[in-house]
Amino acid sequence: MRRISVDIGGTFTDCFVTWDEEFFQSKALTTHHNLSMGFNHALDQACQRIGKERREVLGGVDSVRYATTLGTNALIERSGPTVGVLVTAGFESTIALSRGRGYGEGMDALAKNDLSSGTRPEPLVPPRLIRSLRERVNYAGEILMDLSVDDVRRQLKALIDAGAEALLVSLTNATENPAHERLVQEIFLSEYPAHQLGAIPMLLSHQLSGRKGEYVRTTSTIIDAYLHATMYHALSDLEQNLRANGYAKPMLVNHNTGGMAQLNSTDALQTIHSGPVAGIAASEHLAGEVEIDKIIATDMGGTSFDIGLVTVGGGKHYDFMPVIDRWLVSIPMIRLVTLGAGGGSIASYNSLHDSVQVGPRSAGSDPGPACYDRGGLHPTVTDADLLLGYLDPSEYAGGQIPLNPARAEFAIEEVFGDHLEMDPIEVALLIKAEVDDQMANGMGKELRIRGYLPEEFTMLAYGGNGPLHCCGIADRLGITKVLAPPYSSVFSALGAGNTNQMHIHERTIAINLFSSATRQLFGDFDLFNGIVEDLESLGTADIVRQGMDPLKVEHRLELDMRYGNQLVTLAVVVDRNRLRSVSDTLAVADLFSQEYARRYGQGSQSPEAGIRISTVRVASFIVGKSIAFGTLAPASELSEPTRRTTRMCRFPGFSKALETSIFDQSALEPSQRVFGPAIVTAESTTYLVEPSWRIETGDRGAVWFFRNDNAGGVR
């Protein structure tokens, strides 16, 4: 297989090239003014290692795939066009009110709870650019008030006069009956034809999302309209660069659904967070490669700690109303939970409980931890790690950032000296324990709320601080196995190379699978099957449009279900794509019951209150070729490398420093084993093997941490 996959991040452009049976990774700074430059630079590094020219490599690969966080940046920088919105009369304030809770979306718990200071973000569309149309459709799609053509013309003109550079229409209950949205578009095109210079785009909300919810659907459409031009130009430039360098196939773009598509089948909204989501895709791919069915993927960097779940056979874990920046939207996005802790998290004294607190503030990379010696005055997790002996001051970040232990000690003294009768090392131990605890609590909650037991999971630890803290975190959760994956420094790029062509279509529908009022079971199979068929057709069309064989398209049917009048639904992957008899109805009810019980406890189900389906969702995909790594599991025969030296390190739970073996990167060669306490200092990260743990290495840089009471073995 020959393939290029890329993750264009805010700072680095990561590149992962598969060339026959070999793999190459490279990095370059992202060049925001022209993304192609950064991409070419990264690719050239890989080409050099392959020993071929850029043109030859691009001409020989089966695909080039991009994941990117560009959209997120554009949103944060507010660099989009002026967007005008048309809504149903009476709903003019829906956007501004943001369901009342918009002040807290995307904020931490304290900001959410502090009503006295809570403030909504600056709107993407101010009230003067919101106009209403006199019309009304009810929940079932019945038109109660006809759209007035004259009114549409007036409001369109008003928005154009107000300077709108992109328009969208989001009418109430348009998902049930889009006739009015379509009519507005028709009138718009007759008044402002698309072929004329100065034509502006118009988006219709029902085309962006098939789910009910006028606020979230409108916000989704706004963000899509807002990012459309930025993303289109950036990605088109990339595609043209590829063409100019010998690549003739369609460029593929990763989606935040965990799938991917060509540019002509990609909404701007689908690209948001596709970089981190590709990291989850990489985790999923690795899970398949090493045959582990439950993985919790963690990415611990300098400022944050991202968590994602991979459970084989249980469907993907989505957020159906995720928050993008500060906005609640309505798209199925692979669930990522971000906790505010990383190496740069600031430690402070908690006067209330006379204890150590870590975060939520972060020193970031500038000025960074105190030990960076760049002016940072606050003690951070990295400062604690340094004082505990885990980090080599001269070899941190490949020796690029010399660390100053005296600064770390001084910062801890300054903050804690007056409050805790401890030396700085003791405080550092508390800081480490606290940050490990916080991460473990966050992971534990995320798993348990989904009905999983943490101890059944394998933890995947990537990001600069992952292998440094993974033993401490895993210990607290009863996890006995951690994989620091291969290619972890370009992990999202690796994931981008292993996603499938996939499109998701969904439709809100009120189906009583079992009505508690009439005690009838659902029997209108033609209605149900018709909806599924329509959604499958849309998915197939998306894939066929990209030149794929329709016969290879597979569909996964998911139903959002609830008992009685519950608001929140549970997504159930259904094992049959059509309902043909009451047996099928009961089978679906049973699947829901099993999933509900797994999550909330056996006996918590309430079928007596009625069983409802609120959304039908079809994921249409083609299973493509993925990158095979070969053996990542440790071999049965392992050797123990020679340590470079030893260092005295402190560990939570031990009153004295322990003599700790220090290894260099060669200890990570395949088929080696190192018992803790030990430290392996590699170019991009430090592997801390805590007492009671050991590492065993597999091929391609896979490093497995096992607690000593785990006999080993990957499965």
């Binding site: 807290g104 718990a109 200071s117 979230v216």
Partner: protein
């Protein structure tokens, strides 16, 4: 001395006590429990454990582990709850000490539960533990809703579960949800027309609903049989129970990990740490007494004036809150609020706005003393109806918030922003009837959650943001709501023009709503708010209070026919509909905002507005550019900009004439000086000995809070009373419909006397 009065001997006394204990007729709310809002002193075990060295960080980890478990349960309830309240964040989960002190609650949800949830646990401990017919066993769970035994109001239901460790109760866990329907006089659980305690619906003291892990189906059936939504009663009972089980599992896991002693010490230290910090924060406030008086204009059945006075005295680290002089309880009106409920409102003001960062637990109130007149509407007797007790609780909140910004303005260390009062009324519709899915439902609209935020010392308030009692509460999605209930919002939460508390920084504005039922054989709406005549929310430092707006109805036509056949007649705003009355043949009317369930014909329109948060500072200091921005957004009229803010501008372009605006504002400042009078002169003319004749007035008058003014109704009609609260006779008002009938009968009699036909 007669024989009956002779003291008993010690031996006799024991026998008498035994007899009386065995002859207890009814275990009603226990004043010893219900009047104590503070945490219990250390137990001997806690005393012993705390005398040993303490590892603060180990205790902190226990806390965080418990709160993570509570958050997990909270999320679980939010996801699985069927009540609208569960869907928009009106719920919580909690952990108590074995003795019943509330120690931790979930990060999200209703803070005020922190000041009320300990009462029922203490009741269970005191009465059911040793009661042979009840007892407390591992696996048991108790249900409870009656505010008289400790709750915010009777529409909230809780599950309370003991946590046993080695055969002993080591803690309690609880889950609470605002359920809505509870079998009260009106659907939805908050009846404004409640005329006795028995109209309030289910009155559950804490009783066992799960016996050793098994649901008592007989009791569940009784509960289902007592409410209009048996499905909701069943479904959410399980939701709360399984969430409580989840907390229990987490607590036991923590105990297994750290041991009993560390767990017990962690709970106690949490209480003591929070108390110490609360005391420290009180001590930062300058000593003195700070006063505010608020009024309510409605009992929810009729307009009148109810006084809510508040004096906060700070002395060192102690705070005394004095509500004496408040209006008396009404024994046939629903607005009375139990002392516990009133304290909830007060506590919400402190925890959400003053100390939003402080962990919530019972001990936050240890430094606070509350003074009331027993028998007042903020501390009523057990026989007072409580159907809409939020009226009192919300006033308790408003009084606290109105004072706090003044108390802390000059404090160097602040924990929340200086902010004008939040809107504090329940401006939403309750509903009941049969849905398009043929189910009977009764509940409240999530529109309650869009209260206008107060202006800050540095910025405008946020429009319809969140209710003051539940951060991150949701006003929901109308498309999804309409799928479950047979009514539509034809004006759906649109910011109401000029519904603004003016100021240098204006308050956050409230929205308007117009509802109409469609496709239902039986439907009704109710409202439970006051403030259509007297502003419920004051401003701060010269800012205006919120405007007053009525409940409005358009009847006699089917609006859906109008929209289909003559759409030009229908207008999408409250102002035009009421001022221009564009639908021919329709009846337009306005009312105060207490409406008992009223049947709605298809196409009848019911309208009301959410309120505004208070304004901050002088309107003449408002940046004219901000005034123009509000005009452009449609939030205020040009008239308001000219007459309130004294802006001079081009109405077409909204360009401000800066010079003319400065002149207009200077002129207004001069006019103010001319209108002004020396304070003694003002007092001499303004202050009267008694309330005005024409206003039914309840509460103290002036600074003397020892005497209460009231208008009681007897056989001969209204009688004015002035007396100490303890001597005040029961206040009961006639049914307004009876008064209306009496008025009509008098008119008929008068007409008859003139010889006119009787059916005239």
């Amino acid at each position: 001395m007669t024989q009956a009065q002779m003291p008993y001997s010690a031996e006799e006394q024991i026998k008498v006590d035994e007899f009386l204990a065995g002859a207890t007729l009814f275990l009603g709310p226990d004043p010893e429990i219900m009047r104590n809002h503070k945490s219990a002193p250390r137990t001997p075990l806690e005393e012993e454990l705390l005398s040993q060295p303490i590892d603060s960080d180990a205790l902190d980890k226990v806390r965080k582990r418990i709160v993570a478990g509570l958050d997990e349960a909270y999320e679980m309830m939010e996801q699985t709850g069927a009540a609208p309240g569960a869907k928009w964040g009106d719920l919580t989960s909690a952990v108590y000490s074995a003795g019943g002190d509330l120690v931790h609650i979930s990060s999200g949800g209703v803070l005020a539960f922190a000041s009320v949830l300990h009462y029922p646990v203490r009741f269970i401990n005191k009465y059911w533990a040793s009661e042979p017919s009840v007892g407390i066993h591992d696996g048991d769970a108790f249900i409870h809703n009656d505010a008289r035994y400790g709750n915010i109001h009777c529409t909230d239901q809780s599950i309370i579960m003991p946590v046993f460790h080695e055969g002993e109760i080591i803690a309690w866990v609880a889950t609470v949800v605002h359920e809505g329907e509870n079998g009260a006089k009106e659907p939805g659980g908050m009846p404004s027309s409640s005329e006795s305690a028995f109209d309030d619906g289910l009155r559950m003291p804490p009783f066992k609903i799960f016996e050793r892990g098994v649901l008592r189906r007989d009791l569940l059936t009784f509960l289902q049989n007592s409410v209009r939504e048996p499905k909701l009663q069943y479904q959410d009972l399980k939701v709360k129970y399984y969430a409580a089980l989840r907390i229990k599992e987490r607590v036991l896991a923590v105990i297994d990990e750290v041991g009993r002693d560390t767990f017990v010490v962690s709970l106690r230290k949490s209480l003591e740490d929070v108390e110490a910090e609360a005391r420290r924060r009180v001590s930062l406030v300058p000593d003195g007494t700070y006063r505010v008086n608020l009024w309510s204009d409605s009992t929810l059945r009729e307009n009148l004036l109810l006084k809510y006075p508040c004096a906060i005295t700070i002395k060192g680290e102690e705070m005394t809150i004095d509500w004496r002089g408040a209006a008396p309880q009404f024994l046939n009106r629903a607005f009375n609020s139990t002392l516990g409920t009133s304290k909830c409102g007060m506590n919400q003001g402190i925890l959400a706005f003053l100390w939003p960062d402080l962990p919530r637990g019972i001990s936050v109130m240890n430094s606070i003393e509350i003074l009331t007149d027993p028998g007042s509407c903020l501390d009523p007797t057990d026989d007072a109806p409580l159907g809409q007790s939020l009226q009192g609780a919300f006033k308790a909140f408003a009084m606290t918030q109105a004072l706090w910004s003044k108390l802390t303005f000059s404090c160097e260390e602040k924990f929340g922003a200086i902010i004008a009062p939040w809107f504090n009324q329940i401006n939403t519709f309750l509903f009941g009837g049969i849905t398009q899915h043929q189910e009977f439902v009764g509940n409240v609209c999530a529109d309650l959650n869009g209260m206008g935020g107060g202006a800050r010392a540095y910025s405008d308030g946020e429009h319809s943001m969140a209710p003051f009692f539940a951060a991150m509460a949701d006003i929901g999605e109308q498309e999804i709501i309409e799928e479950d209930v047979p009514f539509m919002q034809l004006i759906s939460k649109k910011i109401k023009r000029d519904n603004q508390a003016f100021g240098k920084y204006r308050g956050g504005m409230g929205y308007e709503m117009a509802l109409a039922a469609k496709g239902t054989p039986f439907w009704g709406f109710a409202t439970v708010s006051s403030g259509s005549k007297f502003p419920p929310t004051p401003g701060l430092f010269g800012g205006y209070g919120c405007p007053t707006l009525p409940l409005a109805k358009i009847k006699g036509v089917n609006v859906f026919d109008e929209m289909k056949n003559t759409p030009e007649n229908w207008q999408f705003d409250f102002e035009t509909l009421l001022n221009e009355q564009p639908i021919p043949g329709a009846r337009y009317s306005t009312h105060h905002m207490g409406m008992a369930l009223e049947l709605a014909n298809e196409g009848d329109i019911f309208m009301m507005c959410q309120g505004s948060g208070g304004g901050y500072g002088d309107v003449l200091e408002r940046d004219p550019a901000e005034v123009m921005a509000d005009i452009e957004a449609g939030y205020i009229s040009g008239e308001t900009a000219r007459e309130i803010y004294f802006c001079v501008f081009d109405p077409e372009t909204l360009a401000v004439n800066e010079t003319a605006t400065t002149q207009a504002r200077d002129a207004e400042r001069r006019a103010r000086l001319e209108r002004g009078r020396p304070y003694p002169d003002f007092i001499q003319d303004w202050v009267t000995e008694a309330p005005p004749e024409g206003i039914p007035y309840y509460g103290s008058w002036g600074d003397d809070n020892s005497m209460i003014h009231a208008v009681a109704w007897g056989a001969a009609g209204p009688i004015k009373l002035v007396a100490p609260m303890a001597q005040m006779p029961p206040i009961m008002l006639p049914d307004p419909k009876d008064l209306a009938i009496l008025g009509l009968q008098a008119e008929i009699a008068a007409l008859r006397a003139t010889g006119a036909p009787s059916d005239a």
